[in-house]
Amino acid sequence: MTRYLLPLGIFIGLVVLLAAGLTLNPRYVPSPLIDKPAPVFSLPQLHRPDQSISPADMLGKVWLLNVWASWCVACRAEHPLMNELARSGEVAIIGLNYKDRPEAALQWLRQLDNPYRISAVDEAGRAGIDWGVYGVPETFVVDKQGIIRYKHVGPVEKKDLEETILPLVRQLVQKPA
């Protein structure tokens, strides 16, 4: 009897292991930036190229940094949700327009609406590297002290927003600056 139990046990063990593996997202790379200060940048604003924007401007507020580009198909997918979030006014969204042409980016926002309070222009992708961006769109939650608290890779879906991002934002807003 044990003779059959052992291979069966090994088989079941493997099935459990592989099934767990299938539920993981291989594209998700844990970011070393969580709980670290938001990397500094000073970039021109998309709508006002003569003015710059830096994460320091947002100190004292909880905000989202949403990395987007007009060439990014998945950004288009999450865009309606970003618009909805911006309309709710619950949290400020700063855009990081990553490796894009400003004309194309402006055109994209005109067409699909602009959820961003300000978009920073990162044409060369250097700020992107500093923020560890590897799969646009990416969304970071930054707290009042300018510390990155959460990172979402890929398009934000309603479920991510309602179950993870917004509860975290509400919790961070409660904390004293």
Binding site: P26, R27, V29, P30, S31, P32, L33, K99, A124, G125, R126, G128, I129, D130, W131, G132, V133, Y134, G135
Partner: protein, 153 residues
Amino acid sequence: MRRILTTALLFVSLLLQAGVEVQHFDTPEQEARYKTLINELRCLVCQNQNLADSNAELAQDLRRQTYEMIIKGDADEEIVGYMVARYGDFVLYRPPFKRSTALLWAGPFILLFIGLTIVFLFIRRRNREDVPPLSEAQRQRTRRLLEAGDKDQ
């Protein structure tokens, strides 16, 4: 007709050019370091390729970053540290041995050990089980055969 076609095709080939990055290093040693680094660093986009092999935009940018840091005079550890600070140990094809990577490094040896133990136990058990004791008649027959064999020699 054929000549026109050949000429046309030749011109088409002019339009197709491979994107080759040309980098100029001050010393051959810098170039060697650059090549080693981009072979050791992993592309985050096409995760099973290193920076040298990948043509993803991010890989190009990270190659450029590596190049610039080498020209600037940064040490290998500084460049690797720069990448790890942004992308984590995942960016290294040979991650350091820590708690979170212990299973990664030790896993194959643990599996090998388990496998060898099973093989060992299996062989031992089979050796024990597969040889039933001989009956008295078989024993005598064996002895006769062995003695007969001795005489033949």
